[in-house]
C-alpha cells in the first residue's frame, strides 16, 4: 500500500469568539494519494476552506487548530517550526485562491511575481528566474509570454490572472496543489479552460490536487474522489462516480437534488429542485456534530 501524500487525522479547528472556542472543523479525516485529485465539496461555512488553510499553516487568530494531525509525506505539519513550514509552502504544497484580481500584488509585474518563486525556493538569480517565469507562463498556455511578463495584474483578464496563479503555484513542482474555489469568480467558459488546465498540468507532473468548491459539477470534472463537508464534518466520502449515482448521506442527496439537470419534461415529467432542508447551523449554537435526519418523504 502506497503511503498517502496527505493524511489528515481527526482535525479540529475552532474560532475564539469572546472567550469560548467554537468548532469550525470537527474531527475531519481524509487521505490523498500521490498524484490523486481529491475534491472537497460543501456550502460556504462548511469548513472546507479552513481545512485547507490549516494544511498550509496560514490560519490566523482567532482561528486555531485544536486537535488532530496533518501528515504530509509522513511528517506532521502541525509540529513543524515556522521556518520549516515556510520551506514546505510553495515548494512542496502550493495554493491558489478564489479571487485572482486581489490575490496578485497590483504594484508588481506578474513576471516578477512568478520569478519570486524561483528566487525564493530554488536560489536562482533574478535574471534566470525571469527567464523561467516566461517558460512558466508558456506552460499555462498564455500567448506572448515574454510580453506578458511585463504586464501588471490589472492589465489582464480574470482567466489570464488565474493562469498566472497556477503558473506561480506549479513553478517549483510541488507535490500537492490546493485549489480553493479557483473558478468561482470566473465566467463559465473561462472556468472550463482553467479546469482543463489544472487537470492537464497536474496529471502531467503527477501533482496531487485538493480541489475545494461548492460546485459539484466542477469537482466532478477534475477529481477522482470526493469528500462532502457539512457543518464542519466530513459526512461522506467516495469515488466521484459513486457520489453521483449512489449518494449515501442525506445531505449529499440533498446537494445532488439541488442541481438543476438537463432533461426533457415530456420524458421525465416535471422535476423540482429540492432544497436542502437545513441551514448551516449557527456557529454559536453548535456544540456537537449534527447530521440531518432523512425526511420521511424520500
Amino acid at each position: 500500500m502506497k503511503q498517502p501524500l496527505l493524511d489528515i487525522r481527526n482535525l479540529r479547528v475552532g474560532v475564539l469568539l469572546g472567550r469560548t472556542q467554537r468548532p469550525i472543523v470537527n474531527d475531519v479525516s481524509f487521505k490523498i494519494m500521490p498524484g490523486e485529485a481529491y475534491g472537497l465539496v460543501g456550502e460556504s461555512g462548511s469548513g472546507k476552506s479552513v481545512t485547507s488553510l490549516a494544511v498550509m499553516g496560514l490560519m490566523q487568530k482567532p482561528l486555531s487548530v485544536l486537535d488532530g494531525q496533518i501528515l504530509f509525506q509522513g511528517q506532521n505539519l502541525l509540529e513543524l517550526k515556522t521556518r520549516e513550514m515556510r520551506r514546505v509552502r510553495g515548494k512542496r504544497i502550493a495554493m491558489i485562491f478564489q479571487e485572482p484580481m486581489t490575490a496578485l500584488n497590483p504594484l508588481s509585474t506578474i513576471g516578477r511575481q512568478i520569478a519570486e518563486m524561483y528566487v525564493l525556493h530554488q536560489g536562482k538569480s533574478w535574471n534566470e528566474a525571469r527567464r523561467l517565469a516566461i517558460d512558466a507562463l508558456a506552460s499555462v498556455h498564455v500567448p506572448n509570454p515574454d510580453q506578458r511578463t511585463k504586464n501588471y495584474p490589472h492589465q489582464m483578464s480574470g482567466g489570464l490572472r488565474q493562469r498566472v496563479m497556477i503558473a506561480m503555484a506549479l513553478a517549483c513542482n510541488p507535490d500537492l496543489l490546493i485549489a480553493d474555489e479557483p473558478t468561482t469568480a470566473l465566467d463559465v467558459t473561462v472556468q472550463a479552460e482553467v479546469l482543463r488546465l489544472i487537470k492537464e498540468l497536474c496529471t502531467e507532473r503527477g501533482t496531487a490536487v485538493l480541489f475545494i468548491s461548492h460546485d459539484l459539477g466542477v469537482i466532478a470534472s477534475v477529481c477522482q474522489r470526493v469528500g462532502v463537508m457539512y457543518a464542519g464534518s466530513l459526512v461522506e466520502e467516495n469515488e466521484t462516480g459513486a457520489i453521483f449515482t449512489s449518494p449515501r448521506h442525506a445531505y449529499t442527496r440533498g446537494l445532488l437534488g439541488a442541481l438543476p439537470r438537463l432533461g426533457s419534461r415530456s420524458a421525465h415529467g416535471r422535476q423540482r429542485l429540492v432544497d436542502i432542508d437545513s441551514i448551516i447551523a449557527d456557529r454559536s449554537t453548535l456544540t456537537e456534530t449534527r447530521y440531518i435526519t432523512p425526511r420521511s418523504s424520500q
Binding site: 498550509m56 496560514l58 521556518r83 515556510r86 520551506r87 514546505v88 509552502r89 510553495g90 515548494k91 502550493a94 495554493m95 485562491f97 479571487e99 486581489t102 490575490a103 496578485l104 500584488n105 497590483p106 504594484l107 508588481s108 519570486e116 518563486m117 525564493l120 525556493h121 501588471y152 490589472h154 496563479m165 506561480m168
Partner: protein, 311 residues
C-alpha cells in the same frame, strides 16, 4: 510617464491664473478703498485730502480693468508690486525670507516622517498592543492640540526653564534655532502620518495578495520588503501631499510665535497693517509652492502605482 508628467505640470498654470484672479478680486473689488482703512484704522475718519493723495499714489483710482491688466502684466514679469509700507519690491521681500520658510517646512516634515512613519508601522504590526493604543491616543491628541500652544509650552520648558535651546529667532541660522519651531510645526503632520501609516499597513497586511505571498512560502520579512512596503507607501505619499497644505498654513502661525523670519511671519505682519501688495504677493507665492509640491507628490505616486497612468 513622460507625457503624464508634462500634462500634470501644465495643469498648474490654469490653477495659478484663477488663484491670481481670485486674490485680485478679493483685494480690489471689495468696497471701501484701502487708503481709507489704512489711514483711519477704524477709530476716526481720515483727512479726505490724505486719502485722495494715497489713492493717487497707489494707483487705486484707475478703472478696475486697467488695474487688472497692470497686475497681470506685472505678474508675467515676476513683478509682485511694491509694499505699501516699506516701498520695497514685494518680490525682494519674499526672496529674503523664502529660504527660512523652506528650512522650517522641510525640518518639520522630516521630523514628522522620521517619527510618524515608524510609529504607525509598528502599531500596525501589533494591532491592539500597548504600542498600538499609545500611538493612536498620541495621534488623536497631536491632532487636537493647538500647535502654537504646544510651541509656547515647549518654549517655556526647553528654552526658558532648561535653557537648552534658544527661545525664538533665526539666530545665526544654526540647527539649534530650528529645533523648537520645526518640532512644534511637525506635531500635527506626525500625528496624521502615524494614523495613516497604521491604517495603510494594516490594510495591506490583511489583503489577499499578502496571503498569496505567504502561501508562496515567503518569510514575514520578505513579505514586508517585497510586497507590503510599496503598497503602503502609496497611501502614505498621498497623506504627505495633503499635509503640506495645512503645514504651510500652520507655519504662518509658528513663524510668528518663534519670530522666525520666513514668508509666513511676513504675511501675518502685512495683514496686520493691511499692506496689500505684500499680502497678495505672499499668498500667490505660497499657493504656487503648494501646487508645485502637490504635483511632485502626484508624480511620485504615478511612478509607483502603474494603475494611475492608465487614466
Amino acid at each position: 510617464m513622460f507625457r503624464f508628467t508634462i500634462r500634470r505640470i501644465l495643469q498648474i498654470i490654469p490653477t495659478v491664473i484663477v488663484v491670481a484672479l481670485i486674490i485680485f478680486v478679493i483685494f480690489s473689488v471689495v468696497p471701501g478703498t484701502f487708503a481709507t482703512s489704512l489711514l483711519s484704522d477704524g477709530k476716526r475718519a481720515a483727512d479726505p485730502q490724505l486719502i485722495a493723495r494715497l489713492n493717487e499714489e497707489l494707483g487705486l483710482n484707475k478703472p478696475l480693468l486697467e488695474r487688472f491688466a497692470t497686475y497681470v502684466t506685472n505678474l508675467a514679469h515676476f513683478d509682485l508690486g511694491t509694499s505699501f509700507r516699506s516701498r520695497q519690491p514685494v518680490i525682494d521681500l519674499i526672496n529674503d525670507r523664502m529660504w527660512a520658510s523652506l528650512r522650517l517646512a522641510i525640518g518639520a516634515m522630516f521630523f514628522a516622517l522620521s517619527v510618524g512613519l515608524p510609529l504607525g508601522f509598528f502599531a500596525a504590526l501589533k494591532p491592539g498592543s500597548v504600542i498600538d493604543s499609545a500611538t493612536m491616543i498620541g495621534a488623536v491628541s497631536g491632532l487636537s492640540v493647538p500647535e502654537f500652544w504646544l510651541g509656547l509650552l515647549l518654549m517655556y520648558f526647553f528654552a526658558l526653564q532648561l535653557n537648552w535651546l534658544p527661545s525664538f529667532g533665526y539666530g545665526d541660522g544654526s540647527f539649534q534655532n530650528l529645533i523648537l519651531p520645526a518640532v512644534t510645526l511637525g506635531v500635527a503632520p506626525l500625528a496624521l502620518l502615524a494614523r495613516t501609516t497604521r491604517a495603510g499597513v494594516l490594510d495591506v497586511l490583511n489583503s489577499d495578495f499578502v496571503r498569496t505571498a505567504h502561501a508562496k512560502g515567503m518569510s514575514h520579512f520578505k513579505v514586508m520588503r517585497w510586497h507590503v512596503a510599496r503598497n503602503a507607501l502609496v497611501l502614505i505619499i498621498t497623506t504627505v501631499g495633503l499635509q503640506f497644505g495645512s503645514l504651510i498654513g500652520q507655519a504662518v502661525i509658528i513663524e510668528k510665535l518663534f519670530a522666525w523670519p520666513g514668508i509666513g511671519s511676513l504675511l501675518v505682519d502685512s495683514v496686520a497693517i493691511r499692506d496689500i501688495p505684500v499680502v497678495q504677493g505672499t499668498i500667490l507665492v505660497i499657493v504656487l509652492w503648494f501646487l508645485v509640491i502637490n504635483t511632485a507628490v502626484d508624480l511620485i505616486y504615478a511612478a509607483i502605482d502603474p494603475r494611475i497612468k492608465q487614466e
